[in-house]
Protein backbone atom coordinates (compact mmCIF):
# COMPACT_ATOMS: atom_id res chain seq x y z
CA UNK A 1 0.00 0.00 0.00
CA UNK A 2 1.27 3.46 -0.75
CA UNK A 3 -1.21 6.29 -0.80
CA UNK A 4 0.58 9.56 -0.18
CA UNK A 5 -1.29 12.73 0.72
CA UNK A 6 0.26 16.17 0.86
CA UNK A 7 -1.83 18.66 2.77
CA UNK A 8 -0.81 22.34 2.55
CA UNK A 9 2.83 21.24 2.46
CA UNK A 10 5.18 24.19 2.41
CA UNK A 11 8.96 24.62 2.32
CA UNK A 12 11.01 27.70 3.05
CA UNK A 13 14.79 28.07 3.01
CA UNK A 14 15.21 31.07 5.29
CA UNK A 15 12.97 33.76 3.85
CA UNK A 16 12.77 32.17 0.43
CA UNK A 17 9.61 30.21 -0.12
CA UNK A 18 10.61 27.36 -2.40
CA UNK A 19 7.29 25.58 -2.24
CA UNK A 20 4.19 27.57 -1.36
CA UNK A 21 1.42 25.57 0.38
CA UNK A 22 0.64 22.66 -1.90
CA UNK A 23 -2.00 19.92 -1.93
CA UNK A 24 -1.52 16.68 -3.77
CA UNK A 25 -2.88 13.15 -3.55
CA UNK A 26 -0.91 10.23 -4.93
CA UNK A 27 -3.05 7.10 -5.16
CA UNK A 28 -1.76 3.64 -4.33
CA UNK A 29 0.00 1.99 -7.25
CA UNK A 30 0.16 5.15 -9.33
CA UNK A 31 3.17 6.18 -11.39
CA UNK A 32 3.37 9.91 -10.76
CA UNK A 33 5.89 12.11 -12.52
CA UNK A 34 6.91 15.53 -11.21
CA UNK A 35 8.05 17.54 -14.18
CA UNK A 36 9.14 21.12 -14.60
CA UNK A 37 12.10 23.27 -15.60
CA UNK A 38 15.22 23.24 -13.40
CA UNK A 39 14.75 25.03 -10.11
CA UNK A 40 11.00 24.54 -10.05
CA UNK A 41 11.12 22.72 -6.71
CA UNK A 42 10.38 19.22 -7.97
CA UNK A 43 13.40 17.63 -6.33
CA UNK A 44 12.72 19.54 -3.11
CA UNK A 45 9.17 18.22 -3.12
CA UNK A 46 10.47 14.68 -3.53
CA UNK A 47 12.94 15.17 -0.69
CA UNK A 48 10.14 16.48 1.51
CA UNK A 49 8.18 13.29 0.84
CA UNK A 50 11.30 11.21 1.50
CA UNK A 51 11.94 13.04 4.75
CA UNK A 52 15.39 14.24 3.75
CA UNK A 53 14.15 17.82 4.15
CA UNK A 54 11.86 19.02 6.92
CA UNK A 55 8.61 20.66 5.89
CA UNK A 56 8.06 24.25 7.01
CA UNK A 57 4.33 23.74 7.28
CA UNK A 58 1.52 21.38 6.38
CA UNK A 59 1.24 17.64 6.69
CA UNK A 60 2.37 14.53 4.79
CA UNK A 61 0.39 11.32 5.27
CA UNK A 62 1.43 7.92 4.01
CA UNK A 63 -1.44 5.41 3.98
CA UNK A 64 -3.40 7.73 6.22
CA UNK A 65 -0.69 7.81 8.93
CA UNK A 66 0.88 11.18 9.63
CA UNK A 67 4.49 10.99 8.42
CA UNK A 68 5.51 14.63 8.67
CA UNK A 69 7.74 14.09 11.69
CA UNK A 70 8.90 10.56 10.92
CA UNK A 71 12.59 10.10 10.04
CA UNK A 72 13.23 8.90 6.46
CA UNK A 73 13.88 5.31 7.50
CA UNK A 74 10.50 5.01 9.24
CA UNK A 75 8.44 6.16 6.27
CA UNK A 76 8.75 2.91 4.37
CA UNK A 77 9.90 4.63 1.19
CA UNK A 78 12.90 3.78 -0.99
CA UNK A 79 14.76 6.26 -3.11
CA UNK A 80 16.91 6.03 -6.22
CA UNK A 81 19.28 8.99 -6.45
CA UNK A 82 20.52 10.86 -9.48
CA UNK A 83 24.12 9.82 -8.77
CA UNK A 84 22.87 6.32 -7.76
CA UNK A 85 24.65 6.85 -4.39
CA UNK A 86 25.99 3.30 -4.31
CA UNK A 87 28.44 2.47 -1.55
CA UNK A 88 31.75 2.21 -3.45
CA UNK A 89 33.57 -0.01 -0.94
CA UNK A 90 30.86 -2.68 -0.86
CA UNK A 91 30.17 -5.36 -3.44
CA UNK A 92 26.90 -5.25 -5.35
CA UNK A 93 25.53 -7.96 -3.06
CA UNK A 94 26.39 -5.96 0.05
CA UNK A 95 24.98 -2.78 -1.48
CA UNK A 96 21.65 -4.48 -2.08
CA UNK A 97 21.77 -6.17 1.32
CA UNK A 98 22.51 -2.97 3.21
CA UNK A 99 18.91 -1.88 3.93
CA UNK A 100 18.02 -5.47 4.91
CA UNK A 101 21.02 -5.70 7.21
CA UNK A 102 20.08 -2.39 8.79
CA UNK A 103 16.58 -3.75 9.35
CA UNK A 104 18.12 -6.74 11.12
CA UNK A 105 16.62 -9.29 8.72
CA UNK A 106 17.57 -12.96 8.98
CA UNK A 107 20.41 -14.01 6.65
CA UNK A 108 18.44 -16.59 4.64
CA UNK A 109 15.60 -14.13 4.03
CA UNK A 110 18.19 -11.56 2.94
CA UNK A 111 19.74 -14.04 0.50
CA UNK A 112 16.35 -14.97 -0.89
CA UNK A 113 15.38 -11.35 -1.54
CA UNK A 114 18.76 -10.46 -3.04
CA UNK A 115 18.58 -13.46 -5.39
CA UNK A 116 15.08 -12.46 -6.44
CA UNK A 117 16.03 -8.83 -7.09
CA UNK A 118 19.22 -9.85 -8.90
CA UNK A 119 17.28 -12.14 -11.22
CA UNK A 120 14.67 -9.49 -11.92
CA UNK A 121 17.32 -6.91 -12.75
CA UNK A 122 19.83 -9.15 -14.57
CA UNK A 123 22.47 -8.60 -11.92
CA UNK A 124 23.16 -12.21 -10.89
CA UNK A 125 26.56 -12.31 -12.61
CA UNK A 126 27.69 -9.04 -11.06
CA UNK A 127 26.84 -9.63 -7.41
CA UNK A 128 30.47 -9.89 -6.31
CA UNK A 129 31.73 -6.87 -8.21
CA UNK A 130 32.25 -3.41 -6.86
CA UNK A 131 30.14 -0.52 -8.21
CA UNK A 132 33.30 0.97 -9.74
CA UNK A 133 33.56 -2.04 -12.06
CA UNK A 134 30.05 -1.62 -13.48
CA UNK A 135 28.70 0.42 -16.37
CA UNK A 136 26.26 3.27 -15.86
CA UNK A 137 23.21 1.19 -16.67
CA UNK A 138 24.30 -1.61 -14.33
CA UNK A 139 24.88 0.86 -11.49
CA UNK A 140 21.43 2.20 -12.11
CA UNK A 141 20.04 -1.31 -11.78
CA UNK A 142 21.94 -1.90 -8.54
CA UNK A 143 20.41 1.30 -7.15
CA UNK A 144 16.97 0.06 -8.14
CA UNK A 145 17.78 -3.36 -6.66
CA UNK A 146 18.71 -1.75 -3.36
CA UNK A 147 15.34 0.00 -3.43
CA UNK A 148 13.15 -2.98 -4.31
CA UNK A 149 14.53 -5.51 -1.80
CA UNK A 150 13.01 -3.47 1.01
CA UNK A 151 9.55 -3.90 -0.53
CA UNK A 152 8.71 -0.27 0.25
CA UNK A 153 5.32 1.41 0.20
CA UNK A 154 6.52 3.68 -2.59
CA UNK A 155 9.58 4.30 -4.73
CA UNK A 156 11.04 7.75 -5.20
CA UNK A 157 13.19 8.41 -8.26
CA UNK A 158 15.22 11.61 -8.46
CA UNK A 159 16.14 12.16 -12.12
CA UNK A 160 17.54 8.62 -12.29
CA UNK A 161 18.24 8.56 -16.01
CA UNK A 162 20.01 11.89 -16.44
CA UNK A 163 23.48 10.34 -16.17
CA UNK A 164 22.89 7.77 -18.91
CA UNK A 165 23.42 8.12 -22.65
CA UNK A 166 20.40 8.53 -24.90
CA UNK A 167 20.10 4.91 -26.05
CA UNK A 168 20.45 3.50 -22.54
CA UNK A 169 17.97 6.03 -21.24
CA UNK A 170 15.25 4.74 -23.54
CA UNK A 171 16.01 1.16 -22.44
CA UNK A 172 15.98 1.99 -18.73
CA UNK A 173 12.77 3.96 -19.19
CA UNK A 174 11.10 0.80 -20.46
CA UNK A 175 12.60 -1.28 -17.65
CA UNK A 176 11.32 1.08 -14.97
CA UNK A 177 7.87 1.09 -16.57
CA UNK A 178 7.95 -2.73 -16.69
CA UNK A 179 9.01 -2.81 -13.05
CA UNK A 180 6.06 -0.61 -12.16
CA UNK A 181 3.69 -2.97 -13.95
CA UNK A 182 5.06 -6.04 -12.16
CA UNK A 183 5.37 -4.57 -8.67
CA UNK A 184 2.25 -2.40 -8.89
CA UNK A 185 3.81 -0.18 -6.21
CA UNK A 186 3.42 3.58 -6.04
CA UNK A 187 6.26 5.35 -7.81
CA UNK A 188 7.11 9.02 -7.76
CA UNK A 189 9.50 10.07 -10.45
CA UNK A 190 11.18 13.46 -10.83
CA UNK A 191 12.44 14.61 -14.21
CA UNK A 192 12.92 17.74 -16.27
CA UNK A 193 12.45 15.77 -19.45
CA UNK A 194 8.84 15.95 -20.60
CA UNK A 195 9.36 12.95 -22.92
CA UNK A 196 10.08 10.76 -19.87
CA UNK A 197 7.03 12.23 -18.19
CA UNK A 198 4.76 11.59 -21.16
CA UNK A 199 5.96 8.03 -21.78
CA UNK A 200 6.03 6.72 -18.21
CA UNK A 201 3.44 8.51 -16.14
CA UNK A 202 -0.05 7.56 -15.07
CA UNK A 203 -0.29 11.06 -13.70
CA UNK A 204 1.88 14.07 -14.42
CA UNK A 205 2.34 16.93 -11.99
CA UNK A 206 3.65 20.01 -13.79
CA UNK A 207 5.49 22.35 -11.43
CA UNK A 208 6.68 25.89 -11.87
CA UNK A 209 8.38 27.84 -9.06
CA UNK A 210 6.91 25.44 -6.51
CA UNK A 211 3.37 25.87 -7.79
CA UNK A 212 1.41 22.97 -9.23
CA UNK A 213 0.42 24.21 -12.67
CA UNK A 214 -1.61 21.19 -13.65
CA UNK A 215 -2.18 17.59 -12.60
CA UNK A 216 -3.50 14.98 -15.00
CA UNK A 217 -2.84 12.06 -17.27
CA UNK A 218 -0.30 12.64 -20.07
CA UNK A 219 -3.01 12.92 -22.74
CA UNK A 220 -5.16 15.23 -20.64
CA UNK A 221 -2.22 17.58 -20.30
CA UNK A 222 -1.48 17.30 -23.97
CA UNK A 223 -5.02 17.87 -25.15
CA UNK A 224 -6.23 20.40 -22.61
CA UNK A 225 -3.34 22.32 -21.08
CA UNK A 226 -4.71 24.53 -18.34
CA UNK A 227 -2.47 27.47 -19.14
CA UNK A 228 0.21 28.70 -21.53
CA UNK A 229 3.04 27.34 -19.36
CA UNK A 230 1.79 23.76 -19.49
CA UNK A 231 0.91 24.22 -23.15
CA UNK A 232 4.48 25.25 -23.95
CA UNK A 233 6.13 22.69 -21.66
CA UNK A 234 4.32 19.50 -22.63
CA UNK A 235 4.84 18.24 -26.16
CA UNK A 236 7.89 18.06 -28.37
CA UNK A 237 8.50 20.09 -30.44
CA UNK A 238 6.85 22.87 -28.48
CA UNK A 239 3.40 24.18 -29.19
CA UNK A 240 3.32 27.40 -31.24
CA UNK A 241 2.00 30.17 -29.01
CA UNK A 242 0.75 33.14 -31.02
CA UNK A 243 -0.34 36.52 -29.73
CA UNK A 244 -1.57 39.68 -31.38
CA UNK A 245 -3.90 39.79 -34.35
CA UNK A 246 -3.82 36.04 -34.99
CA UNK A 247 -5.04 35.42 -31.43
CA UNK A 248 -7.53 38.28 -31.44
CA UNK A 249 -9.21 36.71 -34.47
CA UNK A 250 -10.13 33.81 -32.19
CA UNK A 251 -11.19 36.04 -29.33
CA UNK A 252 -8.17 35.22 -27.13
CA UNK A 253 -4.99 36.88 -25.89
CA UNK A 254 -2.88 33.90 -26.88
CA UNK A 255 -3.63 30.94 -29.07
CA UNK A 256 -1.68 27.71 -29.17
CA UNK A 257 -1.33 25.39 -32.15
CA UNK A 258 0.68 22.20 -32.00
CA UNK A 259 3.09 21.58 -34.91
CA UNK A 260 1.07 18.56 -36.05
CA UNK A 261 -2.11 20.62 -36.25
CA UNK A 262 -0.77 22.92 -38.95
CA UNK A 263 -1.42 21.74 -42.50
CA UNK A 264 0.79 22.70 -45.40
CA UNK A 265 -1.40 23.96 -48.25
CA UNK A 266 -0.46 24.89 -51.81
CA UNK A 267 -1.72 28.44 -51.72
CA UNK A 268 -3.67 30.80 -49.56
CA UNK A 269 -3.63 29.58 -45.97
CA UNK A 270 -3.81 31.53 -42.75
CA UNK A 271 -0.07 32.01 -42.41
CA UNK A 272 2.51 32.47 -45.13
CA UNK A 273 6.21 32.41 -44.41
CA UNK A 274 9.64 31.23 -45.44
CA UNK A 275 11.14 27.93 -44.38
CA UNK A 276 14.11 28.41 -42.05
CA UNK A 277 15.60 25.24 -40.67
CA UNK A 278 14.16 21.95 -41.88
CA UNK A 279 14.76 18.93 -39.64
CA UNK A 280 14.33 15.69 -41.58
CA UNK A 281 13.78 12.79 -39.21
CA UNK A 282 12.74 10.33 -41.92
CA UNK A 283 9.26 9.64 -40.62
CA UNK A 284 8.56 13.32 -40.03
CA UNK A 285 9.94 16.65 -41.07
CA UNK A 286 9.89 19.67 -38.79
CA UNK A 287 9.98 23.05 -40.49
CA UNK A 288 10.80 26.25 -38.68
CA UNK A 289 8.78 28.81 -40.58
CA UNK A 290 9.49 32.52 -40.36
CA UNK A 291 6.17 34.32 -40.69
CA UNK A 292 6.73 38.06 -41.19
CA UNK A 293 4.16 39.23 -38.61
CA UNK A 294 5.39 36.82 -35.85
CA UNK A 295 8.40 37.41 -33.62
CA UNK A 296 9.19 33.71 -33.18
CA UNK A 297 9.41 31.15 -35.96
CA UNK A 298 6.53 28.65 -36.06
CA UNK A 299 7.18 24.92 -35.96
CA UNK A 300 5.28 22.71 -38.38
CA UNK A 301 5.23 18.94 -38.60
CA UNK A 302 4.90 17.55 -42.08
CA UNK A 303 5.32 14.06 -43.54
CA UNK A 304 8.71 12.60 -44.25
CA UNK A 305 8.65 13.26 -48.01
CA UNK A 306 7.86 16.93 -48.37
CA UNK A 307 9.89 18.63 -51.05
CA UNK A 308 10.50 21.93 -49.30
CA UNK A 309 13.89 23.30 -48.34
CA UNK A 310 15.43 26.36 -46.80
CA UNK A 311 14.12 29.63 -48.21
CA UNK A 312 11.00 28.21 -49.86
CA UNK A 313 7.66 29.93 -49.33
CA UNK A 314 5.16 27.89 -47.35
CA UNK A 315 1.42 28.33 -46.71
CA UNK A 316 -0.07 27.02 -43.47
CA UNK A 317 -3.61 26.46 -42.22
CA UNK A 318 -4.34 25.44 -38.63
CA UNK A 319 -7.01 22.87 -37.88
CA UNK A 320 -9.77 24.88 -36.26
CA UNK A 321 -10.77 22.13 -33.81
CA UNK A 322 -7.25 21.95 -32.35
CA UNK A 323 -6.64 25.59 -31.58
CA UNK A 324 -6.06 26.21 -27.87
CA UNK A 325 -7.23 29.60 -26.64
CA UNK A 326 -5.84 31.40 -23.59
CA UNK A 327 -6.91 34.66 -21.95
CA UNK A 328 -4.73 37.57 -20.92
CA UNK A 329 -3.72 35.78 -17.68
CA UNK A 330 -2.59 32.81 -19.74
CA UNK A 331 -5.47 30.61 -18.55
CA UNK A 332 -7.33 28.32 -20.90
CA UNK A 333 -10.63 29.56 -22.34
CA UNK A 334 -12.96 26.58 -22.43
Amino acid sequence: MGRITLDRVQKKFGDVEVIPPLDLIIEDGEFVVFVGPSGCGKSTLLRLIAGLEDVSGGEIRIDGRPATDLPPAKRGLAMVFQSYALYPHMSVRKNIAFPLKMAGMAQDEQDRRIAKAATALNLTDYLDRRPGQLSGGQRQRVAIGRAIVREPAAFLFDEPLSNLDAALRVGMRMEISELHKTLATTMIYVTHDQVEAMTMADKIVVLRAGHVEQVGSPLELYKTPRNTFVAGFIGSPKMNLLTGAAAAAHGAATIGIRPEHLDVVDSGGTFTGRVGVAEHLGSDTFFHVHVPEMAEPMTVRAGGEVGLTHGDTIHLTPRAAHIHRFDAQGLRIA
Partner: protein, 288 residues
Protein backbone atom coordinates in the same frame (compact mmCIF):
# COMPACT_ATOMS: atom_id res chain seq x y z
CA UNK B 1 61.44 17.36 -28.73
CA UNK B 2 63.73 14.76 -27.30
CA UNK B 3 66.62 15.47 -29.59
CA UNK B 4 70.18 14.80 -28.58
CA UNK B 5 70.60 18.52 -28.08
CA UNK B 6 67.67 19.10 -25.75
CA UNK B 7 68.53 16.02 -23.75
CA UNK B 8 72.06 17.27 -23.14
CA UNK B 9 70.87 20.70 -22.13
CA UNK B 10 68.27 19.14 -19.84
CA UNK B 11 71.01 17.25 -18.08
CA UNK B 12 73.06 20.39 -17.66
CA UNK B 13 70.05 22.20 -16.23
CA UNK B 14 69.30 19.45 -13.73
CA UNK B 15 72.94 18.93 -12.76
CA UNK B 16 73.22 21.63 -10.04
CA UNK B 17 70.15 20.36 -8.20
CA UNK B 18 71.31 16.76 -8.42
CA UNK B 19 74.78 17.77 -7.26
CA UNK B 20 73.46 19.67 -4.21
CA UNK B 21 71.15 16.81 -3.30
CA UNK B 22 73.95 14.28 -3.59
CA UNK B 23 76.33 16.34 -1.50
CA UNK B 24 73.62 17.11 1.01
CA UNK B 25 72.56 13.52 1.51
CA UNK B 26 75.44 11.32 0.52
CA UNK B 27 78.31 13.09 2.24
CA UNK B 28 76.78 12.95 5.75
CA UNK B 29 75.59 9.40 5.15
CA UNK B 30 79.04 8.26 3.98
CA UNK B 31 80.74 10.04 6.87
CA UNK B 32 78.36 8.37 9.32
CA UNK B 33 79.11 5.03 7.71
CA UNK B 34 82.83 5.71 7.89
CA UNK B 35 82.73 6.76 11.56
CA UNK B 36 80.52 3.82 12.47
CA UNK B 37 83.45 1.50 11.75
CA UNK B 38 85.92 3.70 13.62
CA UNK B 39 86.77 4.12 17.25
CA UNK B 40 86.52 7.90 17.42
CA UNK B 41 86.33 9.61 20.80
CA UNK B 42 87.65 13.17 20.33
CA UNK B 43 87.79 14.09 24.03
CA UNK B 44 90.10 11.16 24.73
CA UNK B 45 91.97 11.84 21.51
CA UNK B 46 91.38 8.29 20.32
CA UNK B 47 91.06 7.69 16.64
CA UNK B 48 91.27 4.21 15.17
CA UNK B 49 89.96 4.24 11.58
CA UNK B 50 88.94 0.59 11.41
CA UNK B 51 87.69 -1.51 14.29
CA UNK B 52 85.26 -3.64 12.27
CA UNK B 53 81.77 -4.19 13.63
CA UNK B 54 82.65 -3.53 17.28
CA UNK B 55 80.52 -0.38 17.43
CA UNK B 56 77.51 -2.20 15.99
CA UNK B 57 77.91 -5.11 18.35
CA UNK B 58 78.12 -2.94 21.43
CA UNK B 59 75.25 -0.70 20.28
CA UNK B 60 72.93 -3.59 19.47
CA UNK B 61 73.77 -5.65 22.56
CA UNK B 62 73.36 -2.84 25.09
CA UNK B 63 70.17 -2.93 27.19
CA UNK B 64 69.33 0.61 26.19
CA UNK B 65 68.98 -0.35 22.50
CA UNK B 66 66.04 -2.72 22.86
CA UNK B 67 64.31 -0.53 25.40
CA UNK B 68 64.73 2.52 23.16
CA UNK B 69 63.20 0.68 20.20
CA UNK B 70 60.28 -0.29 22.45
CA UNK B 71 59.84 3.29 23.63
CA UNK B 72 59.96 4.58 20.06
CA UNK B 73 57.26 2.17 18.95
CA UNK B 74 55.05 2.95 21.94
CA UNK B 75 55.42 6.64 21.34
CA UNK B 76 54.63 6.45 17.63
CA UNK B 77 51.68 4.12 18.22
CA UNK B 78 50.26 6.30 20.99
CA UNK B 79 50.54 9.48 18.94
CA UNK B 80 48.99 7.80 15.90
CA UNK B 81 46.02 6.57 17.97
CA UNK B 82 45.33 10.00 19.44
CA UNK B 83 45.82 11.97 16.22
CA UNK B 84 43.72 9.65 14.08
CA UNK B 85 40.94 9.15 16.62
CA UNK B 86 40.86 12.83 17.48
CA UNK B 87 41.36 13.82 13.84
CA UNK B 88 38.31 11.86 12.69
CA UNK B 89 36.14 13.36 15.43
CA UNK B 90 37.41 16.90 14.79
CA UNK B 91 37.01 16.52 11.03
CA UNK B 92 33.40 15.42 11.45
CA UNK B 93 32.72 18.32 13.83
CA UNK B 94 34.39 20.89 11.59
CA UNK B 95 32.37 19.65 8.65
CA UNK B 96 29.15 20.72 10.38
CA UNK B 97 27.88 24.11 9.32
CA UNK B 98 28.50 26.62 12.12
CA UNK B 99 29.09 30.27 12.79
CA UNK B 100 32.65 31.44 12.19
CA UNK B 101 33.66 28.26 10.39
CA UNK B 102 36.64 29.81 8.62
CA UNK B 103 38.20 31.21 11.80
CA UNK B 104 37.60 28.02 13.75
CA UNK B 105 39.32 26.00 11.04
CA UNK B 106 42.36 28.28 11.06
CA UNK B 107 42.54 28.07 14.85
CA UNK B 108 42.40 24.29 14.74
CA UNK B 109 45.31 24.21 12.31
CA UNK B 110 47.36 26.70 14.36
CA UNK B 111 49.28 24.19 16.58
CA UNK B 112 50.93 22.82 13.46
CA UNK B 113 52.71 26.14 12.97
CA UNK B 114 54.24 26.19 16.47
CA UNK B 115 57.83 24.98 16.57
CA UNK B 116 58.30 21.66 18.40
CA UNK B 117 60.67 23.16 20.95
CA UNK B 118 58.31 26.02 21.71
CA UNK B 119 55.24 23.85 22.03
CA UNK B 120 57.07 21.40 24.30
CA UNK B 121 58.22 24.29 26.52
CA UNK B 122 54.71 25.73 26.60
CA UNK B 123 53.26 22.39 27.65
CA UNK B 124 56.01 21.81 30.18
CA UNK B 125 55.74 25.19 31.87
CA UNK B 126 52.11 26.16 31.40
CA UNK B 127 50.25 22.86 31.63
CA UNK B 128 52.38 20.16 33.28
CA UNK B 129 54.22 22.30 35.84
CA UNK B 130 53.37 20.97 39.31
CA UNK B 131 53.36 24.37 41.01
CA UNK B 132 51.93 26.69 38.38
CA UNK B 133 50.59 24.47 35.62
CA UNK B 134 46.99 24.73 34.49
CA UNK B 135 46.42 21.05 35.21
CA UNK B 136 47.62 21.54 38.78
CA UNK B 137 45.10 24.35 39.21
CA UNK B 138 42.42 22.11 37.81
CA UNK B 139 43.39 19.25 40.13
CA UNK B 140 43.45 21.59 43.14
CA UNK B 141 40.12 23.09 42.11
CA UNK B 142 38.58 19.66 42.49
CA UNK B 143 40.47 19.16 45.74
CA UNK B 144 42.92 16.60 44.37
CA UNK B 145 46.67 16.38 44.80
CA UNK B 146 48.42 17.95 41.77
CA UNK B 147 49.85 15.31 39.48
CA UNK B 148 53.40 15.60 38.25
CA UNK B 149 52.86 14.52 34.69
CA UNK B 150 56.42 14.71 33.45
CA UNK B 151 57.89 12.52 36.17
CA UNK B 152 54.89 10.26 36.92
CA UNK B 153 53.78 9.63 33.33
CA UNK B 154 56.62 10.97 31.20
CA UNK B 155 56.01 8.88 28.11
CA UNK B 156 52.31 9.72 28.12
CA UNK B 157 53.11 13.42 28.60
CA UNK B 158 55.37 13.48 25.57
CA UNK B 159 52.79 11.58 23.55
CA UNK B 160 50.21 14.23 24.47
CA UNK B 161 52.51 17.08 23.47
CA UNK B 162 53.43 15.59 20.11
CA UNK B 163 49.86 14.44 19.44
CA UNK B 164 48.72 18.01 20.06
CA UNK B 165 51.12 19.21 17.39
CA UNK B 166 50.15 16.59 14.84
CA UNK B 167 46.40 16.59 15.43
CA UNK B 168 45.89 19.55 13.04
CA UNK B 169 47.68 17.71 10.26
CA UNK B 170 45.50 14.62 10.66
CA UNK B 171 42.38 16.78 11.01
CA UNK B 172 43.18 18.72 7.87
CA UNK B 173 43.67 15.66 5.69
CA UNK B 174 40.67 13.85 7.17
CA UNK B 175 38.49 16.95 6.83
CA UNK B 176 39.12 17.14 3.10
CA UNK B 177 38.27 13.44 2.90
CA UNK B 178 35.04 13.95 4.85
CA UNK B 179 34.11 16.82 2.55
CA UNK B 180 34.62 14.67 -0.53
CA UNK B 181 31.99 12.18 0.61
CA UNK B 182 28.89 12.65 -1.50
CA UNK B 183 25.92 13.72 0.59
CA UNK B 184 23.68 11.49 -1.52
CA UNK B 185 25.50 8.44 -0.17
CA UNK B 186 24.73 9.48 3.39
CA UNK B 187 21.15 10.25 2.47
CA UNK B 188 20.84 6.88 0.77
CA UNK B 189 22.10 5.21 3.95
CA UNK B 190 19.64 7.27 5.95
CA UNK B 191 16.80 6.11 3.70
CA UNK B 192 18.11 2.55 4.05
CA UNK B 193 17.46 2.82 7.75
CA UNK B 194 21.02 3.22 9.04
CA UNK B 195 21.17 5.15 12.33
CA UNK B 196 23.99 7.74 12.71
CA UNK B 197 26.45 5.31 14.28
CA UNK B 198 25.97 2.73 11.52
CA UNK B 199 26.31 5.47 8.91
CA UNK B 200 29.64 6.39 10.49
CA UNK B 201 30.81 2.78 10.65
CA UNK B 202 29.59 1.55 7.25
CA UNK B 203 29.84 4.65 5.07
CA UNK B 204 32.05 7.39 6.52
CA UNK B 205 34.84 5.27 7.99
CA UNK B 206 35.41 3.15 4.84
CA UNK B 207 35.43 6.38 2.85
CA UNK B 208 38.12 7.77 5.18
CA UNK B 209 40.29 4.65 5.09
CA UNK B 210 42.56 5.95 2.35
CA UNK B 211 43.10 9.26 4.05
CA UNK B 212 43.82 7.44 7.30
CA UNK B 213 46.50 5.25 5.70
CA UNK B 214 48.12 8.33 4.18
CA UNK B 215 48.14 10.05 7.57
CA UNK B 216 49.66 6.96 9.20
CA UNK B 217 52.40 6.74 6.59
CA UNK B 218 53.42 10.39 6.66
CA UNK B 219 53.21 10.76 10.43
CA UNK B 220 55.17 7.58 11.14
CA UNK B 221 58.07 8.78 9.02
CA UNK B 222 58.18 12.08 10.88
CA UNK B 223 57.43 10.67 14.33
CA UNK B 224 60.33 8.19 14.22
CA UNK B 225 62.66 11.17 14.55
CA UNK B 226 61.02 13.03 17.46
CA UNK B 227 63.74 14.81 19.34
CA UNK B 228 63.03 18.36 20.52
CA UNK B 229 60.04 17.41 22.66
CA UNK B 230 62.11 14.85 24.57
CA UNK B 231 65.10 17.14 24.82
CA UNK B 232 63.25 20.02 26.47
CA UNK B 233 61.02 17.96 28.74
CA UNK B 234 62.60 14.83 30.18
CA UNK B 235 66.04 14.77 28.57
CA UNK B 236 65.49 11.14 27.80
CA UNK B 237 65.02 10.17 31.45
CA UNK B 238 62.20 8.10 32.99
CA UNK B 239 61.88 5.71 30.08
CA UNK B 240 61.44 8.25 27.33
CA UNK B 241 64.67 7.49 25.51
CA UNK B 242 63.80 6.81 21.89
CA UNK B 243 66.24 5.46 19.34
CA UNK B 244 66.91 8.94 18.00
CA UNK B 245 67.60 10.22 21.49
CA UNK B 246 69.88 7.29 22.28
CA UNK B 247 72.01 8.09 19.23
CA UNK B 248 72.24 11.70 20.37
CA UNK B 249 73.32 10.63 23.86
CA UNK B 250 75.99 8.32 22.50
CA UNK B 251 77.48 11.02 20.30
CA UNK B 252 77.22 14.13 22.43
CA UNK B 253 76.90 13.00 26.03
CA UNK B 254 79.31 10.05 25.86
CA UNK B 255 81.38 11.78 23.18
CA UNK B 256 81.62 8.44 21.37
CA UNK B 257 81.17 9.35 17.73
CA UNK B 258 81.86 5.83 16.46
CA UNK B 259 79.19 4.24 18.63
CA UNK B 260 76.68 7.00 17.84
CA UNK B 261 77.28 6.66 14.12
CA UNK B 262 76.66 2.93 14.31
CA UNK B 263 73.41 3.70 16.11
CA UNK B 264 72.51 6.22 13.43
CA UNK B 265 73.00 3.65 10.69
CA UNK B 266 70.89 1.13 12.62
CA UNK B 267 68.16 3.77 12.97
CA UNK B 268 68.28 4.51 9.24
CA UNK B 269 67.91 0.81 8.44
CA UNK B 270 65.02 0.34 10.89
CA UNK B 271 63.22 3.45 9.59
CA UNK B 272 63.53 2.14 6.04
CA UNK B 273 62.15 -1.24 7.06
CA UNK B 274 59.15 0.48 8.63
CA UNK B 275 58.72 2.72 5.58
CA UNK B 276 58.79 -0.18 3.11
CA UNK B 277 56.35 -2.13 5.28
CA UNK B 278 53.96 0.86 5.44
CA UNK B 279 54.29 1.59 1.73
CA UNK B 280 53.13 -1.92 0.97
CA UNK B 281 50.07 -1.60 3.18
CA UNK B 282 49.24 1.81 1.73
CA UNK B 283 49.80 0.59 -1.81
CA UNK B 284 47.44 -2.33 -1.21
CA UNK B 285 44.87 -0.01 0.30
CA UNK B 286 45.09 2.48 -2.55
CA UNK B 287 44.68 -0.21 -5.20
CA UNK B 288 41.08 -1.08 -4.50
Amino acid sequence: MATQHSRTSARIMVAPAVFVLLVWMLVPLCMTLYFSFADYRPLRATFDAWIGFDNYVSFLTSDSFLSSVGVTLQMVAGILCITIGGGVVLALLLDQPMFGQGIVRILVIAPFFVMPTVSALVWKNMFFNVDNGLFSYLWRFFGAQPYDFLSQAPLFSIIVIVAWQWLPFATLILLTAVQSLSSEQLEAAEMDGAPPLSRFWHIILPHLSRAITVVILIQTIFLLSIFAEIFVTTNGAFGTRTLTYLVYQRVLESQNIGLGSAGGIVAVILANVVAIFLMRIVGKNLDN
